[in-house]
Amino acid sequence: MLYRETGQFKTSYASDAAIFPIAQDRWFVIGLLVFAFFVLPLFANQYLYTEVLIPVLILSLAAIGLNILTGYCGQLSLGTGGFMAVGAYAAYNLLLRVPETNLILVLLFGGLMAMLVGVLFGIPSLRIKGFYLAVATLAAQFFIEWAFARVKWFTNYAPSGSVAVGQLELFGIPLDTPMKKYLFVLAMVSLLALAAKNLVRGRLGRMWMAMRDMDIAAEIIGIRPLHAKLSAFAVSSFYIGVAGALWAFLRLGSWEPLAFDINRSFQILFMIIIGGLGSILGSFLGAAFIVLVPIFLNQIPGLIGIPMSTAMISHLEFMIFGAMIVFFLIVEPHGLARLWAIAKEKLRLWPFPY
């Protein structure tokens, strides 16, 4: 009853091309943003910020990045962790060597460096695809991890590549409390997600999707594979790099290359599989799911009164993630985002059967 687009006419090209053509969606998103920016900070505590909100937001950004490459352009990548590391260490180096740079520029620089590396490792995608490409991106993952652990210049001669950033500040305001960090991350992620949403709706996104659906047909209708694939690698790595820099700067504070190991790559890949391949919304849902499930799992033994060792819980976590992946691939290959879409469809008809 409430969720129905009846009577909402598109009277201009602008309204036809709007991101959220249905007024209820528009209001929902605005409401969500208002809630996230103004209402949440009123009652959230430190735990909620540092363990839930900030990780979900940053990993969503990384998931958006991978989703652009894998979900929209169909190029499987297992090098996400490596590209995040590039973003983190590039940002660290800029801040180290030019200390007075604005934080936003520092983070974007991390993204740009990751973009360069991403394009470099994306070149093989012109010849190979599928799991062959997955192995090529594994090369990126292991090489980058090794480079930051071993090449001393990157880490300012710190032993085993572990580095730290001091007090961050933005336009003179120190980002010292979790709330300020959260608001900053939220602003960055909202803007970048908006940009991503628009990119995938536009010419570039359509090119990627054509490439994903059938590369040969796409080539025949005049899409240059070089352009399409490398631009997907570039944009994707940029997002992942920014996410890596955010993760290192605002979530970890001090880190070593191990924070961006192959398990990080898998974690983000799982986010987009569970959230939904080829969906920006899905990236958020998947990230929230993957971050929240372990937190809930840790609560369960206490709730039902069965003592469980932490090792046991982490094994159970592995099992549940594995089973969820298989389950989603079998039952709902389009992930949580598709479930959301189905729910909306049902809501349109409710309370009538059809």
Partner: protein, 306 residues
């Protein structure tokens, strides 16, 4: 110097044999079902854990027999719960499903078998053999376990070759590998064939897991080392059993030689904090290979039909 070179080479080749054993499992499944089975590493871990824990309560041969039964049951479970439900999906979806299986198996294996480091004692004497002591100073050091691995690998390959070439099931497997639909049309039951290849790669995983487990101890890192089998496959070609062997040898020898020969040079040039080139050498080698010869050394040429 030459002695050291040969020693490194032999050590590398023998490690390569282990990679080849894991890669063999991949190739079997890929050939028969077109599934790129990422879970092979987890299967090796699972098999090794099973053998290690069962050997604590029964003699080793019984433990191995029980592990074989478990791996066959596992193959059946995977076929029944996953593969059967994903028929006709794209390769990439199946690949991601095996990623899920990987995680599940890693968690499941450690839940039921425990997650400490376990030892498998194969009864091979520990002390190494020295060869050519009269030719080189100090001779060439050979590890008996690695030698045993090489022999086991050779036997396994021979048995598999006979199995594929001579038996009825082997012929059916080759037919399925060639063309799923045509094989089905002449009455070969696909599900049954898939069950068999997964079971066979499970058994190959037991062999790999036992040798690795006796060398390094059975622990989680086995499933990571098994990732090295991926570049081996790329190098050798995804569909070729000899390719898996040769690729394994090249990668094994290549990364050890790179560590010893190239490592010091790189450290001097780029002021590195230590070597560790073997962590990425195999992958980068595979990457370079992919650029020039995507089908690998022995693979069938990749032809795309529209």
């Amino acid at each position: 110097m030459l002695g050291q070179f040969i020693e490194t080479l032999i050590g590398g080749v023998l490690t390569g044999v282990l990679y080849a054993l894991v890669a063999l499992g991949f190739v079997l499944i890929f050939k028969a079902s077109g599934v790129f089975n990422f879970a092979q590493g987890a299967m090796v871990l699972f098999a090794a854990l099973a053998v290690a824990r069962l050997a604590e309560i029964m003699p080793l041969p019984f433990a191995v027999a029980a592990a074989i039964a478990i791996m066959i049951a596992l193959a059946y479970a995977i076929e029944f719960f996953v593969l059967r439900r994903l028929v006709n999906q794209e390769g990439i979806i199946l690949f991601m499903a095996t990623l899920g299986i990987t995680y599940f198996l890693e968690g499941f294996g450690q839940t039921i078998w425990g997650s400490d480091i376990y030892k498998i004692n194969l009864g091979i004497p520990r002390e190494p053999i020295f060869l050519f002591q009269e030719v080189f100073p100090g001779g060439i050091l050979l590890d008996r376990e690695e030698l045993a691995a090489a022999i086991v690998c050779a036997i396994l390959v021979a048995v598999l070759a006979v199995f594929f070439q001579v038996t009825r099931i082997g012929r059916a497997l080759r037919a399925v590998a060639d063309d799923h639909q045509a094989a089905q049309a002449v009455g070969i039951p696909l599900n049954y064939i898939w069950l068999i290849v997964w079971a066979v790669s499970g058994i190959v995983a037991i062999a790999a897991g036992m040798i690795w487990g006796s060398k390094l101890g059975v622990q989680f890192s086995i499933s990571l080392v098994a990732l090295k089998a991926l570049p081996v496959l790329i190098l050798g070609g995804l569909t070729s059993i000899p390719g898996a062997i040769v690729g394994g040898l090249i990668i094994g020898a290549g990364e050890k030689l790179a560590e010893v020969m190239l490592g010091p040079i790189l450290i001097r040039w780029f002021d590195l904090a230590g070597g560790g080139i073997e962590n990425w050498f195999a992958y980068v080698l595979a990457l370079i290979f992919l650029l020039f010869r995507p089908q690998g050394l022995f693979g069938e040429r990749i032809i795309e039909r529209v």
